[in-house]
Symmetry: C3
Subunit: 145 residues, 3 copies
């Protein structure tokens, strides 16, 4: 029997490195769940991509972040031994992280004014899965009935 609290988003990335704004897709899962107050947990079953929150207004913010990651934080390095050649993507996955939680308040993701949810592709293009689990508050759920 499938676990009804888990849903999976499929995201096709278009470039080697890319921030993909998934805010609306995640909000759609929350809306379909009918949950008013609770938590939304995002889990990425991949090791060369990441999930993060950041500004989704100016596209130069994601591009500046990718520039810094690629030149300063985790650049390509001839000393890397992993044969697939994507060790910087693995570094970024661990630094940014492959999991994220969000609060759900009155049926909406609670986010700052400029804040969006991003899949950070570091070794694309590929099809990535994002596992979404929504938990409804027990107390508020009961009091609402």
């Amino acid at each position: 029997m499938p676990n009804p609290t888990i849903q999976t988003l499929s995201i096709s990335t278009q470039a080697v490195r890319q921030f993909v704004d998934i805010t609306d897709s995640v909000q759609s899962v929350v809306t379909r769940s009918g949950v008013r107050d609770g938590m939304c947990f995002l889990f990425l079953p991949h090791t060369t991509a990441a999930l993060t929150l950041n500004e989704n207004w100016d596209p130069e913010v994601p591009s500046d972040i990718l520039h810094t990651l690629g030149t300063r934080t985790a650049p390509a390095d001839p000393a890397h031994q992993h044969r697939e050649g994507n060790s910087p993507a693995h570094v970024i996955s661990s630094l940014i992280g492959a999991h994220l939680f969000l609060l759900v308040d009155s049926g909406k993701l609670l986010l700052g004014s400029w804040q969006g949810v991003f899949l950070v592709e570091c070794d694309g293009p590929r099809t990535r899965r994002v596992v979404v689990k929504i938990l409804e508050d027990q107390a508020s759920g009961e009091s609402a009935r």
Copy 2:
């Protein structure tokens, strides 16, 4: 109707970059909630700051971390295009992360001996909000009644 499980802390930062120890403020929210066993989720609705755990004993630990972030991990870079000029703050926000969870055990935040909870200001001074959501364990809550 406001969601009773969500509270917001308001934190005034004093410098461009600064670790602000918010451990006591978060513990106060936990204490006021009356929750004995559960989880405490912290969410930062900002994209140029972060939340982290680290040593809150020697103040040279936070200052060394800020030094490394500013000189090695995410330094200023003339190639950045974002006009506000705060791209390094956005990088650090994604690397450290804008969300954090803590365990609540017998009414106290479960933390290591040297561990504190910090708001990491990267583009201050500003007033920042930290959203705190506390969830009580269902089983332990029931057994305690």
Copy 3:
């Protein structure tokens, strides 16, 4: 009265810096709990180590990550003031993070094909504790009874 939802793993690390694969140990805690569907929260009460997800197939992935962290992201720096000399370990702990959540689906940790759970030792060898908290889904728990 001890909190029955919290267990602590004790992990002995063998090197100054090391990725220790703790996937099987965490799965054992999940299995013993009897929880079928839920969440598994991992919390590290230490400030010079971290918890992360990454590839646990090719051992050159962790070694490449440690190489990049030590040479680019957070190298030793004579400007560091913290007397213990382990400031890079504190930087890495905040960047990678000392907490992690996993989804539990049908009694198993939900992980990608190549994905494992690692304790990242940055200032060993030491004995580290990993606190594990498992929460069962309320709805699925009820419907299963």
